[in-house]
Symmetry: C2
Subunit: 215 residues, 2 copies
Amino acid sequence: MTAVEERGISQAVIGRLPRYYRYLGDLKSEGVERISSQELSRIMNVTASQIRQDFNNFGGFGQQGYGYNTSYLYEEIGKILGLNKQHDMILIGAGNLGQALVNYMNLKNRGFSFKGAFDVNPSLFDKRIGNVPIYPMDRMPSYISENHIDIAVLTVPKAAAIEITGVLAKTPIKAIWNFAHVDLKVPDRIQVESVHLQDSLMKLSYNIRRHEEGK
Amino acid sequence: MTAVEERGISQAVIGRLPRYYRYLGDLKSEGVERISSQELSRIMNVTASQIRQDFNNFGGFGQQGYGYNTSYLYEEIGKILGLNKQHDMILIGAGNLGQALVNYMNLKNRGFSFKGAFDVNPSLFDKRIGNVPIYPMDRMPSYISENHIDIAVLTVPKAAAIEITGVLAKTPIKAIWNFAHVDLKVPDRIQVESVHLQDSLMKLSYNIRRHEEGK
DNA sequence: TAGATTGTTAATCGATTAACAATC
DNA sequence: TAGATTGTTAATCGATTAACAATC
């Protein structure tokens, strides 16, 4: 796999990588040393063809007549996903959802770690979320520069999210994990991934209605 | 639009409906009475063709030479998404994330409302999340039947999620909104929508790496 | 009526699946 | 070597975009 070959992978493929990673992690901890695309296709409920095509976007990870080495494939997909690197994060908006994310991520995901939180509410400034201190919002830009923060996690209302994104665009932040119900406009150098909980619930609602109406 | 015509809408289309709904809601509250597919395409950054095709899956909502009536289109998409119906929900797993979701949803989304929460931790049983009481887990199945609960929101660890899904399959629950990092197996009559936060963050991580390596 | 814009068919594009030669 | 299974090309399928006739 060379850098050049990785050009132009579709988001459909990228979107499937975390799921492969999860299943391979499970197989690995079950002590499964090798797996064929056929076996994996049965477990994951996708076609073996798709599995082989997906992996081949990044070069050959398997061996004819043998299959894939579970540990090796797991590690390689981890590298593709950038999970071998440390990602330092800040929380912007220390409300319920934000606090839950900090507690959740700092326990489970070693590669991703919250270093600080920011809010506009002064009553939070002497508090912490677990070990993570809460600072006033206006210290956010300098904190990002000084502490080499990679990812800003946005858990603020819509209007605030747009405003703060403007501020973030002037910092060396690399990415925004957006939980606000709005599409953010950012320079190309900043990656955005949005979690639109309302949209997710609406899809569920659609499927309920559709099933009830017998379609 | 007849029931028959709605057969076989692709998930790609369904996935775009909440975004249309959001933009139309914004336009409506800005006082915009009509909109053409071309104008909307510019605002939403998709093709006008796709907009017209998407809407036409559900019948004609527009008028030649005029465009679409913003309010009417908004209401119709709302109906397609089942947002005109009340959805009663329970929380299963009253941890950080679960509590955040209850506080978040009960404030913002009138159609979706949490009626109760369930947990295995006895120290929570006399507490509430906002107005929502927390009950012992073993009362969950009877509560669902007696209170006609539509949606169970799963914010428990992986192993518990699988076990609880087995219990839910024996109740008249219509849908599961799953936040556990696992793919749930359910009977066809139960709809599942998963929010895999780890997967979302991994996609972001991939895009950071890819951008840094100049691809 | 003339202009605008939908609804809808046709063309294109991309993603998925099938097939099979290469090779371990 | 023979069997198994990948890597990869070809075929199919579905989704997106373009084009334009219908019609408000």
